[in-house]
C-alpha cells in the first residue's frame, strides 16, 4: 500500500512473471519506457495496445492572476504530456467501483445530497477531465469504503422515484387519451350537424308545418319524429352511429377496470394499459411501497386468498425485514410455471437481503428459494454485476434484489 515501485523492482517482478534473466527484463522494461519518452517528444503521439496513449498537447499562452498580489501575468504557452489509459487497463483499475453507474437526479435529490455531503462538487459536463480530489486521493481504500453506501442509497431512492414517475406518466397518458377521444367525437358530431344542417332545418320546417309542436333546439328528436323522409333517415343513422361509437368507447375503457366508478369523464382513474397484454394491474398502489415491513406477516394464507398478492415466505434473518412480496394481478397463476416471456415484467426495487453462497448452490437455486421460480435468476445476476457467475466460490456474498411488477 502506497509503496513506490521503482524501475528495478518493476523489472524484477517482470522477470519473475516471464521467467527470464534480470538483465534481459531490465533491458526490456528500460527500452519500453525509453521508446515512449523519446517518441512522444519526437512524434507527439505513442500508442501502446493494452497500456494507453501518450500524447503531446500544446497549451497556448494565457493570462492569469497572482492570487496574493492581484497582479496579472502571462503563462507562456508550453507543451504537456497527456496519458489516456487503454479502456481495458482503466476498467481493471476501476474494478472496485465498476458496479456503479451514472444516476439521474431530480432537483430535490440533488439538494438533499448537497446537504448530506457539502463537499460534493457540481460540474458542468463539458469538462470531463476532472482534477483529482486532493482530500480523497491519499487514503484510497478508507475513503472508498466511506463513500460506497451513499451511492447505493441514492440508487435505491432513484429506482423508487423512477417507478412512481412512470406510473404517474401512465395515468396522465391514459387521461389524455380519453380527453382526445372525447374532443374528436364532439368535433365529428359538430361537423356532421353542420354539414347536414340545411337538410335538418328543412326537415324541421316540414315537421313544424305538419305538427306545429316540435322545437328547434333538439334536432335529433325532430328528425326521429319524422321518419317518413329519406333525408331524415340519413341524419338519424349518422347520429346513432356516432352515439354508438361513443357508447363503445366509453364502455371499452371501464372493461379492464374491475369496478367502473363512473363513466368516461373521470380523468384520474387508471385506464386500460397501452399494452394489449391481459395482465393488467388492477391496483398499482402496492408496488409503490416496496418496503417489506407493512405486509401483514402473521397471516400470509388469508392474504393470498383475499387479494392477488402472492407472498413467498423466506427464511427469516434476525430482523423481520426480509419478506419478499411479488405482486401479481392473477392470483390463480402459479409462479412455478411462469413463462420466460413473463420474466421480463419485473423491475428491481431495492435490496432484499444478502445471501452467502454455499457450495453446490447456483443462481437458479437461489432464485427458486427467494422468488419461487428459477427463471428469475437473471435479475440476481443483473443486480450483482461485479461478480463473475461462471466462477463463483462458496462464501461469496450475493445481493438479492426486491422485484416488483412493472
Amino acid at each position: 500500500m502506497d509503496n513506490k515501485i521503482n524501475f528495478s523492482q518493476l523489472s524484477e517482478m517482470f522477470a519473475q512473471e516471464v521467467g527470464i534473466s534480470k538483465n534481459m527484463s531490465e533491458q526490456f522494461v528500460k527500452s519500453f519506457f525509453d521508446i515512449i519518452t523519446e517518441k512522444v517528444l519526437s512524434e507527439g503521439l505513442v500508442k501502446v495496445k493494452g497500456f494507453g496513449t501518450f500524447k503531446l498537447v500544446k497549451m497556448d499562452d494565457r493570462e492569469s492572476v497572482n492570487v496574493n498580489t492581484g497582479e496579472r501575468f502571462v503563462i507562456e504557452g508550453h507543451s504537456k504530456i497527456s496519458f489516456i489509459p487503454d479502456p481495458d487497463l482503466k476498467e481493471a483499475v476501476n474494478r472496485p467501483f465498476s458496479a456503479f453507474g451514472n444516476v439521474i437526479l431530480t432537483d430535490e435529490q440533488a439538494g438533499e445530497l448537497m446537504k448530506l455531503n457539502p463537499g460534493l462538487k457540481e460540474v458542468a459536463e463539458q469538462q470531463p477531465d476532472q482534477s483529482a480530489d486532493d482530500s480523497d486521493s491519499a487514503p484510497v481504500e478508507t475513503s472508498a469504503v466511506h463513500k460506497q453506501p451513499v451511492v447505493t442509497i441514492s440508487n435505491y431512492r432513484n429506482s423508487e422515484y423512477y417507478k412512481e414517475s412512470r406510473r404517474k406518466k401512465k395515468r396522465k397518458d391514459a387521461s389524455r387519451k380519453i380527453v382526445k377521444w372525447l374532443l374528436l367525437l364532439v368535433l365529428i358530431a359538430g361537423i356532421a350537424i353542420y354539414a347536414l344542417w340545411p337538410v335538418v332545418a328543412v326537415d324541421i320546417m316540414d315537421s313544424i308545418c305538419k305538427n306545429g309542436s316540435s322545437t328547434v333546439s333538439s334536432p335529433v328528436y325532430v328528425s326521429n319524429g319524422s321518419k317518413g323522409t329519406d333525408t331524415a333517415f340519413a341524419v338519424d343513422s349518422v347520429k346513432t352511429d356516432s352515439i354508438l361509437d361513443m357508447v363503445e368507447i366509453t364502455q371499452d375503457e371501464p372493461v379492464s377496470e374491475p369496478e367502473p366508478e363512473s363513466v368516461s369523464e373521470t380523468e384520474s382513474e387508471p385506464v386500460s394499459e397501452p399494452e394489449p397484454e391481459p395482465v393488467s394491474e388492477p391496483e398499482p398502489e402496492p408496488v409503490s411501497e416496496p418496503e417489506p415491513e407493512p405486509v401483514s406477516e402473521p397471516e400470509p394464507e388469508t392474504v393470498v386468498k383475499k387479494e392477488p398478492v402472492i407472498e413467498i415466505p423466506v427464511q427469516k434473518p434476525a430482523d423481520a425485514m426480509a419478506s419478499f412480496v411479488l405482486v401479481d394481478s392473477d392470483s390463480k397463476r402459479d409462479l412455478s410455471d411462469i413463462s420466460i416471456a413473463d420474466t421480463v415484467n419485473y423491475m428491481i426495487g431495492g435490496l432484499l437481503t444478502v445471501h452467502v453462497m454455499e457450495s453446490g448452490e447456483t443462481l437458479t437455486k437461489i432464485a427458486q428459494k427467494y422468488y419461487g421460480t428459477k427463471k428469475l435468476w437473471p435479475y440476481i445476476a443483473a443486480y450483482n454485476k461485479s461478480l463473475d457467475f461462471n466462477r463463483i466460490n462458496a462464501g461469496t456474498k450475493v445481493n438479492i434484489p426486491i422485484l416488483c411488477n412493472r
Binding site: M1, D2, N3, K4, I5, N6, F7, L10, M13, F14, E17, V18, Q27, F28, V29, S31, F32, F33, D34, I35, I36, T37, K39, L41, V46, K49, G52, S79, I81, S82, F83, P85, L89, K90, A92, V93, N94, F97, N102, V103, I104, L105, A110, L120, K121, E122, V123, A124, E125, Q126, Q130, A132, D133, D136, S137, V140, S143, A144, K147, V151
Partner: protein
C-alpha cells in the same frame, strides 16, 4: 507512432522478434495492473510517475438540458511526467 511501430522498435532494441515483444508488453502491463491493484505507484526515473488516484463522486450537470447526474466515485490512473522530461518539453 502506433502500436505496430512501437513493437517493431522495441523488438529491434531488445533483439527479440515482434511476437515476443508483444507478449512482453502484455505481461508488463498485467504486472503494472497488479501494482496498481495493491495501491502502489510506479515511478520510473526519466519517465515519470504512474499512480492510481481516487476521484470522488460528483454531480455533473448537462448545460443544455440541465439534467443532473450523480457520477459515481472511481479509481483512475494518472501520469505525471518526471521533471527531467518536463525540462525537455520546454
Amino acid at each position: 507512432m502506433n502500436n505496430k511501430q512501437f513493437l517493431s522498435e522495441l523488438s529491434a532494441r531488445c533483439r527479440i522478434d515482434e511476437k515476443k515483444a508483444s507478449d512482453g508488453v502484455q505481461t508488463l502491463v498485467s504486472v503494472m495492473e497488479k501494482v496498481f491493484d495493491s495501491g502502489d505507484t510506479i515511478s520510473i526515473s526519466g519517465f515519470g510517475v504512474l499512480e492510481v488516484k481516487k476521484k470522488g463522486e460528483r454531480v455533473s450537470v448537462n448545460p443544455v438540458t440541465g439534467v443532473r447526474m450523480l457520477v459515481p466515485p472511481k479509481l483512475a490512473i494518472s501520469y505525471k511526467p518526471s521533471s527531467l522530461l518536463k525540462d525537455k518539453l520546454k
